[in-house]
């Protein structure tokens, strides 16, 4: 897929939570083609400490309104600076990068999409894609607490949503892998994006139940283009670039101890 470096315009800025910002970006021409699970590298202006671009997943692409959405959690200098953007500002993006999640494998397949924290971001776009292409997505989203659950209405508009919170303030109490859904239903495959411990425990469940499973990794990146070899993950095929060969990997290709 052709990659671009472009200045996009900030169309809206929303703060779904004090720790998050949702940027909806647009352009005067139609946004380039992209696939769910791909990411962008954003250039952060006005933050001298932020030298490298920051990798952020494509949260959603609204073709009708020519919008690309980024859901960003404020963790350090760079992401705090991104949260300062105002409507009308421009943001420089290199995109779309990486391979994204698996295309639909068979009609009617039941795909469990598991997200934790800001890892829910790329699942919205993927869920919509799966539904539009004849698969049956089901979301299982985990958060610390009710207020950390993001874009719930948007997820619900796409597919059934199951929730766990660590404090029990919404859905079932506990971690995603403790949800009773997992004992009741069988899925054709699973896609996961979230903190590593969560992905490891979902991978463990997948192996135990013989369910194909892919995970989206967030290794530290410099170029995002497969040129610098900084973002490597150990796999059964040796060290590979998460930015170019991932960020989505089949758990059987990884060397994780699950």
């Amino acid at each position: 897929m052709k990659k671009y470096v472009k200045d996009l315009t900030v169309k809206t800025v929303e703060y779904p939570h004090e720790l998050y910002v949702l940027l909806k970006l647009t352009d005067t021409e139609p946004l380039p083609e992209s696939f769910p699970g791909q990411f962008v590298e954003v250039k952060v202006e006005g933050s001298p400490q932020t030298f490298l671009r920051r990798p952020i997943s494509i949260n959603y692409v609204d073709r009708e309104n020519n919008e690309l959405w980024l859901l960003i959690k404020k963790v350090g200098e760079g992401t705090h600076q991104l949260a300062q953007l105002k409507v009308g500002d421009t943001l420089n993006l290199v995109f779309p990068l990486g391979n994204g999640f698996s295309p639909v494998r068979k009609q009617g397949e039941k795909v469990l999409l598991v997200g934790g924290g800001v890892g829910v971001a790329p699942l919205l776009d993927y869920g919509k894609y799966l539904k539009e292409h004849g698969a049956q997505p089901v979301f299982l989203l985990g958060a610390r607490s009710k207020s950390d659950l993001l874009e719930q209405n948007l997820f619900k508009a796409v597919a059934p949503v199951y929730v766990t919170t660590e404090d029990g303030s919404e859905g079932e109490k506990g971690f995603v892998t403790q949800h009773t859904l997992l004992n009741k239903e069988k899925f054709d495959r699973i896609s996961v994006c979230g903190p590593k411990p969560m992905m490891v425990s979902v991978a463990r469940y997948a192996k135990a139940t013989n369910t194909p499973c892919e995970v989206s990794l967030e290794n530290m990146m410099a170029c995002g283009l497969g040129a610098c070899l900084c973002c490597v993950e150990k796999t059964v095929k040796g060290n590979v670039c998460v930015c170019k060969d991932g960020p989505v990997f089949d758990i059987n290709d990884l060397t994780w101890e699950v």
Partner: protein, 291 residues
């Protein structure tokens, strides 16, 4: 060479990774990823950490080896109409020479850049680049088997970079390029551990530029062969500093991560500056510092 702008090894892949952003034929040359005789897995993750105006890396020369390069990568890049230069590394003079001999057979590779300055591998690499004897030994061994232009890439992690440059000139180098990365370290204070997997890494980006300009200036005064300058170049302004310090060409590394189209912008920017200053070619400003 179309213009004095090339890309630095390890930061631009094999060029093809950037083909969506720059027309590779519009830049003076591409120095491809470091290549060794045998395949190398490189160091463990984390291999990169950001720092004020720059970054440190300890990739450790991950590559599939020279045979793989010749069979699988060369066919993909040989028809790109610019100088596709191979960066060669090794762990002994024999190693370097054998790798260079294989590359010598490749018709469309006009030159090699000999990396005697990688700070991120346990064996070899920078070990050769930090003494005049070590540097000369590698260059001599390669010179015997490599018949095309030989650029030797120098390390700034030395007491006198001009002495090393003189030693490689005497051993038969046709040009020198500098600088490779500066050895550095970053510590995670909560974990009380180095951030990088092998503790130290090579620093690059604008933070190292003044060191690089100083090195180029010292080396250009000492040697008679051409000097290729690099280290922290982000803009045409930066590049012109290197040219004035005595470099006849430049390489751009880390800046490609910030703007994948930076090389062409720098090349155009140099031309504009030359026009504005009534110069017809780059050679008119190389080393032209007012004393």
């Amino acid at each position: 060479m179309k213009n004095p702008v090339m890309t630095a090894s390890g930061t631009f892949g094999y060029g093809v990774e950037f083909a969506d952003f720059v027309n590779l034929e519009d830049i003076g040359g591409v120095i491809v990823k470091g290549t060794t005789l045998l395949p190398r897995e490189g160091n463990d993750y984390p291999r990169m950490v950001e720092t004020a105006s720059g970054m440190l890396n300890c990739v450790g020369l991950q590559n599939k080896g020279v045979d793989y390069f010749c069979e699988h990568i060369y066919p993909e890049i040989k028809d790109i109409r610019t100088n596709m230069i191979v960066n060669v590394s090794g762990s002994s003079p024999e190693d370097y020479a054998e790798c260079a001999a294989r590359v010598n057979e490749l018709a469309n590779i006009p030159a090699i850049e000999l990396n005697i300055s990688c700070p991120n591998v346990k064996q070899g690499g920078m070990a050769f680049g930090v003494t005049t004897e070590g540097a000369a030994a590698v260059v001599k061994a390669v010179r015997e088997v490599y018949k095309k232009p030989l650029i030797v890439k120098l390390s700034p992690n030395v007491t006198s970079i001009a002495d090393i440059a003189l030693a490689v000139q005497d051993a038969g180098a046709d040009a020198v390029s500098l600088i490779n990365t500066l050895m550095g370290m970053v510590i995670d204070i909560e974990k009380r551990k180095p951030v990088l997997s092998i503790a130290t890494g090579g620093m690059s980006g604008p933070a190292v530029k003044p060191v690089a300009v100083r090195c180029v200036w010292q080396v250009a005064k000492a040697v008679d062969i051409p000097v290729v300058g690099l280290g922290g170049i982000m803009t045409a302004h930066d590049a012109i500093e290197f040219l004035l310090a005595g470099a006849s060409a430049i390489e751009i590394g880390t800046a490609n991560f910030i703007d994948p189209a930076v090389t062409v912008k720098v090349a155009n920017g140099i031309n504009e500056w030359l026009d504005q200053h009534g110069c017809k070619s780059v050679s008119e400003i190389v080393g032209q510092l007012n004393a």
